[in-house]
């Protein structure tokens, strides 16, 4: 099957760089499967799991905490704010994050500007996503 080059980078390191067949990314407006030869796009990410498919199977799952994806026909670059292989997620940490995000959201919900509230909401959703992923692993 045709492949394209996938790169996954976080500010602290390069996590993945190799040819793959398909990647499913949690885009801000719904999950999105990317195949080779896709039209160039720049997409914002929400918190969620990136699934990498090689040889007809999902070989890698990584949790990302928001970021961006640049898509060109020949390559896909994921700029994640933070990325962890799903197998290495810790449930305790995820729950702690959810609590933190909930507190931040509750605080923002009372009187802050809508953008601030929305950002807090996004973080909360991402943290919940992380918890779900950690539980599934």
């Amino acid at each position: 099957m045709a492949t394209f080059n996938l790169e996954l980078v976080s500010p602290e390191k390069l996590l993945l760089s190799r040819p793959v067949e398909m990647v499913i990314i949690p885009a801000a407006e719904g999950e999105m499967g990317v195949l080779p030869g896709m039209a160039p796009m720049i997409v914002a990410l929400r918190g969620g799991v990136i699934q990498v498919q090689e040889n007809g199977q999902i070989t890698e799952k990584l949790f990302v905490m928001g970021g961006f994806v640049e898509i060109t026909p020949a390559r896909v670059t994921v700029l994640a704010d933070e990325a962890t292989p799903v197998a290495q997620l810790s449930r305790a940490e995820a729950s702690a994050r959810v609590r933190e995000a909930e507190a931040a959201y509750n605080q923002a919900a009372s009187g802050e500007a809508p953008e601030v509230r929305e950002a807090a909401m996004d973080r909360l959703l991402a943290a919940r996503e992380m918890e779900t992923a950690a539980e599934a692993a």
């Binding site: 790169e7 980078v9 976080s10 500010p11 602290e12 390191k13 390069l14 885009a27 801000a28 407006e29 039209a39 160039p40 796009m41 720049i42 997409v43 914002a44 961006f68 640049e70 060109t72 670059t77 700029l79 704010d81």
Partner: protein, 296 residues
Amino acid sequence: MANLKELRGRINSVKSTRKITQAMKMVAAAKLRRAQQQAEAARPYAERMARMLASLGQAVAGNPDAPKLLVGSGGDRTHLLIVVSGERGLAGAFNTNVGRFARNRIRELEAQGKTVKVLAVGRKGAAYLKREFASRIVGEVSFQGKKRVGFEEAQEIATRVTAMLEAGEFDVCTLVFNHFRNVISQVPTAQQLIPAELPAAKEAAEAPGEVGAWYEYEPDEATILAQILPKNLAIQIYRAILDSTAGFYGSQMNAMDNATRNAGEMINKLTLTYNRTRQANITSELIEIISGAEAL
């Protein structure tokens, strides 16, 4: 002439100083390697980010309501300097260099009638600038006690800077840090952050068939830009901090290497004096004995 006991004491004390500086040099070398690796690891992200930003920048160029982070506030009155320095001393002229560079810049800007504000990152630079510019310092960030500086710390600084920009507290933001050229040379460098200096369109032109303007955006350009610009700010600050950290250990390694060498020289000199004095003492004792024997 100094007496022998005193000399012996000095030789021993210089020897133990040399042991300390030698150990510090080893430690600095190990930390330098780690700092360089970290800086290396951050590079891919920064490069991809620059590429994306170049294409986005083209897409919004000329748009009058482009985000402030990209185009600045339009004014040129108040300058914010983020000065990145080391957390500790004993690194030769590392902290002084960046401090002096910042000082000259502040003076220059003030001579032009601009208002200057300083955000000091790192304890040593803050202490240096406080002596002269205490009233201009609007904030201090210290990583004291932290083993390594992560991206979150840079992100925090970026958030603070963004908030200040939104509040209209400055017009132009410049980052001042020691750029790590190689182990023996760190160059104080100024980099303008806001208004952002976009990696010019020429880079996009270098890769034919990948012209930025052809991208589709989801959700839309403005939203993505609004998210990507603070990230870019954070990554620039993060890079500067890593660069400066690597430079710090390089400089420290050098300083300690010099100190070790100087201590060695000192020991040689002192040992020579010590031996001479000892010899002189023996000779004079011999003369005393011989002349005493002759007198009999």
